[in-house]
Structure formats: structure tokens, C-alpha cells
């Protein structure tokens, strides 16, 4: 249903007095089927939110394309854009800033309906009431203001607003990161259940691996604006191929204190997107990096078994013997 082809987003910036381009998203290829929940995971600054915002036309892309139901939506006229707005909606990380403080809950949820449908008056109120019911809020909240609600309640309102127009795609940008842990579980449970009920497709952006694993059937791992690995969630989690994915999974804190760490923790920082490394973007932090190989040429994606794609020379069929030699 949604595909991106070499999607690239650059922001013009000024660094040390010179104009430069910050490449936040670098030739990203994503593929989301109807009914999928694709998790987009990565460190802060990896460009995952930018991908979500660009898909919804909130940022301009500087290269590549986004195909939504066969139509390239990176170049839309305003009428087509309005249709897209109906079909794809967004839920933000911070529900406190995602609701207009001067609008009642009723008004906030009604806004998309007023904008795109002919519902008015009693019908509109009824529809908003039904939406609140779906997200598990009583009608008494209708005429409250956002500051009178808790974080979890606000996030439910945001979800009600996002599903008001029966969209097909929801971009969820860290929808639970700003909430208390107990509330996170409720919201995740709820997101999972409405996905089935309302036949929604999710692009679920998070840095939290456990959350992704719980909600998503597929996952894409981002590093420095690139997708380094994507595949079925369980396969990626049980058998991570890319050294970065492996490092991410190993970095998850263990519940038992005193247990030995699995593997070595990542060293160093994510490089600046203004000054991208040559070769594999991960080569300066990778424990498997092969000097003179990984830092030479850009690394393409390699397909390994059923739809699993990994951007790592270790999986290059052509250089497999060389890799084996290096590994020994």
C-alpha cells in the first residue's frame, strides 16, 4: 500500500558560517502492505521521525518518491493532497503539545470532521461521542480542555482525532514515549486492538525495541538516515543480521541485576549527518568492520532469505569468500 523509493530528505543548514545540507533521510526504501504494522526503530537523530513526517507531506522530500496506493504523493496538487489528508493521519509523541490548549476535546476531535465531511451540529457531536467511546473515554470529557486530562487520556483523544476520518494509514511517532509506563501498556494494547478492528496500517516509529516487538509484524532499523536492516519482526529480533541491529538488541537493559551483558556495548557516537562517513555509515563503530573494505564504497542492500534486507558487506554474496577470509 505504501512504498518509498530512495526517499531522501535534506535540510539546508548553516554550519560554521557555510551553507550545507543536512541529510536526515538518505535513500530510504520502505514497503508497507495493507494491514501491516511496520516498526521504524533507531537512535535519536537517525531520521525516523523525518521519514514519517515526509510520508505525510509535512516535510518536503528532496529526492526519491513515496508511492501511496500506486500514486506518487511527493508531487501532489492541493486537491489530491486533501484526499491524502483524509487517508493518512498522525499521532504524536507528546500529547500535551499535540492538542490545542484553547480548544475543547469536542472541538479538537471535530476539526478533521468539519474540514473533510458535511457533519454538523447534533450529528457531529454524536460522531465525536462515538469516537471517544472507541478510544475508551466517557462523554463527560467532551467539553473539557486538554489541561484537565491526564497524559494517557490526552493520547486517547489524539488517537480519536486521528481515526476520525477512517484513515487507512496511521503514522505513530513515538506514541507512548511520553507516557507513564503503566499507561503505555494500556495505549499499546489499545492501538493493537483498533488496528484489527478498524483495518488500519501502521507506521510505528519508536526507539523502544520492546514496544516495536509487541505491536509490529515488520521492522526496519534506521541508522544515520539509512535503513540498515528490515524484515519480519520475530526474525529480526531472534536473529539480527546487521551488526548495528545486534548492538541495539544487546543494549536493551536486562531485567535481572548482575547478569552479564550480552556482547560489547556500542562505542562512540553516531556521526554527524553533516559529515557523513565514506563507505558503510556504521564502519567507525562496528566491531566487524573490515579496514580497507567497509570504509571504501557505499554499501548497498543485500537480500537475505524471505524479504530480509540487510545493508552490510558481510551479506554480499559476491564478496562472501573474502568476508569469510577476513573473519578467520
Amino acid at each position: 500500500m505504501l512504498e518509498t523509493h530512495d526517499l531522501t530528505v535534506g535540510f539546508p543548514v548553516r554550519a560554521e558560517g557555510k551553507k550545507a545540507v543536512l541529510t536526515a533521510v538518505n535513500k530510504v526504501n520502505l514497503h508497507i502492505e495493507k494491514g501491516d504494522a511496520l516498526g521504524l526503530v533507531g537512535e535519536s537523530g537517525s531520521g525516523k521521525s523525518t521519514v514519517g513526517r515526509t510520508i505525510l507531506h509535512l516535510n518536503k522530500s528532496t529526492g526519491g518518491s513515496v508511492i501511496f496506493d500506486g500514486q506518487d504523493i511527493t508531487r501532489l496538487n492541493s486537491a489530491d493532497e486533501k484526499v491524502l489528508r483524509r487517508r493518512a493521519q498522525m499521532v504524536f509523541q507528546d500529547p500535551h503539545s499535540a492538542l490545542n490548549p484553547r480548544m475543547t476535546i469536542m472541538r479538537s476531535v471535530a476539526e478533521p470532521l468539519i474540514l473533510h465531511t458535511k457533519l454538523r451540529g447534533a450529528e457531529l457531536r454524536e460522531k465525536v461521542g462515538t469516537l471517544l467511546e472507541i478510544v475508551g473515554l466517557q462523554k463527560q470529557f467532551l467539553y473539557r480542555y486538554p489541561h484537565e486530562l491526564s497524559g494517557g487520556q490526552k493520547q486517547r483523544v489524539c488517537i480519536a482525532r486521528a481515526i476520525a476520518l477512517n484513515p487507512e494509514l496511521l503514522v505513530l511517532d513515538e506514541p507512548t514515549s511520553a507516557l507513564d509506563v503503566s499507561v503505555q501498556a494500556q495505549i499499546l494494547e489499545f492501538l493493537k486492538s483498533i488496528q484489527k478492528e478498524l483495518d488500519l496500517t501502521y507506521l510505528f516509529i519508536s526507539h523502544n525495541l520492546a514496544v516495536i516487538r509487541y505491536v509490529c509484524n515488520r521492522v526496519a532499523v534506521m541508522y544515520l538516515g539509512q535503513i540498515v536492516e528490515q524484515g519480519e519482526t520475530e526474525e529480526v529480533f531472534n536473529n539480527p543480521k546487521h551488526p548495528y541491529t545486534r548492538a541495539l538488541l544487546e543494549a536493551v537493559p536486562l531485567p535481572e541485576p548482575g547478569q552479564p551483558r550480552r556482547g560489547k556495548p556500542l562505542i562512540g557516537d553516531i556521526p554527524s549527518p553533516l559529515n557523513l562517513p565514506t563507505g558503510c555509515f556504521f564502519n567507525n563503530r562496528c566491531e566487524k568492520a573490515m579496514a580497507g573494505v567497509c570504509d571504501k564504497a557505499p554499501v548497498p542492500n543485500f537480500t537475505v532469505e524471505n524479504g530480509r534486507r540487510v545493508r552490510c558487506l558481510l551479506y554480499d554474496p559476491a564478496s562472501a569468500p573474502q568476508v569469510e577470509a577476513a573473519a578467520v
Binding site: 489528508r85 493518512a88 493521519q89 504524536f92 503539545s97 490545542n100 473533510h116
Partner: protein, 336 residues
């Protein structure tokens, strides 16, 4: 909401009483013998004592205070030694002139400042923004009277577009005093020629007086707009497909206007104080000029009265801003 208004009103009354004590004390502790001044330079000690008794200056301070406060409640603000008329009567003439000037100034500052702030924020770092930022930064720091003098030099003396000072031409018959504000009275009495003339006299002093307010309104509004435009609910409004105009005017500006309202209120209060300078530059017969004359003549009852009015004005504008804040912002309504 009512609860909030009630609480604020009581608070304001308390502050007003405090203000009375302060103005009274300062003017009575200050050096200078008003009785001697009133009696004139050639008066004998006897005459001075007589005046002292007449004005009640010989009574104990506390008693004088209670007489003063009691008088205020009866509308008696004392008597000006300099103009020899009751201060209340003087103020009835001078205050509307000042109020008119201040109202036009704040109106000008809002009508120009808010849109400039919005344009500056929306076209951030564009050329409009750069010009606006330079002008508003200098506006905050520029002394008002200097700006007034420069305007006079250029637009009155060099170009001759505007009169140098005053409220009307000396030959023009002022409109019948209804509110005391010439433009309003001229309209009410249908004397449109006088209306435009009064407006013409208003332009330079109003611009000079409004400039610091204009500059700070632009700065605050710009900063608030930039911040609000980056908030998620504005982004979400875009994701819903809301028009650019509605996004800027309803989602962003309505929320950015709250801090801007606060600065407008504050500036509106300060402006009245600023009239002392502007009125003396433009020879504008208002409260500021009146107070200036009174101060130089050690005529302390008018000074007390003007100080009281400025203070009360400041409190009133802040009170009104608080109420407007409550009306506009649901988050403020609950807590008082």
C-alpha cells in the same frame, strides 16, 4: 471565572491603599514648604502660617492622610497651588487629552505590531524579518523623547507635513467637551474637519509614544509565533489539511497572543508614564505636562493625584489583562 475576578478585585483594592500610603508619604517627606510657596515670595511668616492652616498642613501626618483619603472618596484630590484650581477639575481637562494620545498609540502599536510579528515569524530569516528585527531591537532601546525630537525635526520642520505640537491649531475652536477627547468629541458633534485636524496633530506624538511598545510587541509576538508554529498541534492541523491561513491565524496566533496580551497590557500601563516626556516634547496639554509643571513648582497635591492616577491606571490595565487572559486561556480560568 467570577471567583478569579473577585479575588483580583480585592487584591487591587489592597494595592490601591498601599499606593495611597506611598504617594502620601513621599510627597510629605520630600523637602520644600508648600505653604510658603502658596503664600508667594513676599509673604510674611504670619501669612505663611495662615496658608498652612488653611490647607491643613499643620495637622499631624496621620490625620492629614485620613483627610486626604476621605477627600479622594468624595472626589476631592486637593487644590493645585500653581493653577489655584481644584486638582480634580484640572485632571478633568488634562486626563482625556492624555488618554486620547495613549489610546491612539497603543492602537497603532497593536495594529502594526501583531501583523509584523506574524509575518516576521512566518517568513523567518527572510528580508522582512531582518528589517523588522533590526528596527524592533533599536526601538526597544531608543529613548522616546529623542525619537520625538527627530520626528519633529524631520516631518515638521524639514518637510512640514505635520504640526510641531499641540492638540489643535490655536485658531481652531475645540469641539464641545463631551469626553474631552477631541477626535471623539468632534465625531460626536459631527465636526469632521476638526476630527481630521485633531488626528493630524496626533500622528507624531502617537508614533513617538508607541514606538517602544510597538517594538516589544513585535519581538514578543514574533518569538511566540515561532514557538507555537513548531508545536505538534499546529503540525497536526497541517496533517489534517487545514488551510495555511487558519493554521496561522487560529491555531498559532490565538495561542501566541496570550503572552503578547501580557506585554500589551504592561506597555499600555507604561505609556501613561511615558507621556510625561512626550507631552513636554510635543507641548501636549495632558497629565504628563501638568505633572511636570507641578513637580517643578513643588506643588505636591497635583503630583500626588497624578501619581495616584498613573498607579491606578497601571493596576486597572493589569486587572483587565488578567480578565482577558482568563477569557482567552482555559488554563488560567481555574486558578486565580
Amino acid at each position: 471565572m467570577l471567583h478569579m475576578i473577585g479575588k483580583r478585585s480585592i487584591l487591587m483594592l489592597g494595592m490601591l491603599l498601599g499606593l495611597l500610603v506611598i504617594t502620601f508619604s513621599i510627597s510629605h517627606i520630600a523637602p520644600g514648604d508648600p505653604a510658603a510657596l502658596a503664600a508667594g515670595p513676599d509673604a510674611t511668616q504670619e501669612m505663611i502660617d495662615q496658608v498652612r492652616e488653611e490647607y491643613g498642613f499643620d495637622k499631624p501626618l496621620v490625620e492629614q492622610f485620613f483627610i486626604y483619603v476621605g477627600g479622594i472618596f468624595e472626589g476631592n484630590l486637593g487644590r493645585s497651588v500653581y493653577t489655584t484650581r481644584p486638582v480634580a477639575e484640572d485632571l478633568m481637562v488634562y486626563f482625556p487629552a492624555t488618554l486620547e494620545l495613549v489610546l491612539y498609540s497603543i492602537l497603532f502599536a497593536i495594529v502594526l505590531g501583531v501583523p509584523l510579528g506574524v509575518i516576521s515569524a512566518v517568513k523567518q530569516n527572510g528580508w522582512v524579518d531582518n528589517v523588522v528585527r533590526i528596527v524592533s531591537s533599536s526601538g526597544v532601546g531608543l529613548p522616546m523623547f529623542w525619537l520625538g525630537l527627530m520626528l519633529q525635526l524631520y516631518f515638521s520642520l524639514k518637510l512640514g507635513w505635520f504640526p510641531l505640537g499641540g492638540r489643535l491649531d490655536l485658531m481652531t475652536d475645540p469641539p464641545t467637551a463631551i469626553t474631552g477627547m477631541y477626535t471623539v468629541d468632534a465625531l460626536l458633534t459631527l465636526r469632521f474637519g476638526v476630527f481630521f485636524e485633531a488626528l493630524h496633530y496626533m500622528v507624531l506624538p502617537a508614533i513617538a509614544l508607541s514606538f517602544p511598545a510597538l517594538a516589544s510587541i513585535v519581538r514578543v509576538n514574533r518569538a511566540e509565533m515561532i514557538e507555537t508554529l513548531s508545536l505538534d498541534y499546529v503540525t497536526n492541523a497541517r496533517a489534517q489539511g487545514i488551510s495555511r491561513f487558519r493554521m496561522i491565524a487560529v491555531y498559532a496566533l490565538k495561542n501566541a497572543m496570550l503572552p503578547t496580551m501580557a506585554i500589551i497590557g504592561l506597555r499600555f500601563g507604561w505609556m501613561l508614564g511615558g507621556t510625561v516626556l512626550i507631552e513636554s516634547v510635543f507641548d501636549w496639554p495632558g497629565v504628563g505636562l501638568y505633572a511636570l509643571q507641578a513637580v517643578t513648582a513643588s506643588d505636591f497635591e497635583p503630583v500626588m493625584a497624578v501619581t495616584l492616577i498613573l498607579g491606578a491606571w497601571f493596576m486597572l490595565t493589569n486587572f483587565l489583562i488578567d480578565i482577558i487572559y482568563g477569557v482567552l486561556d482555559p488554563r488560567v480560568r481555574g486558578r486565580a
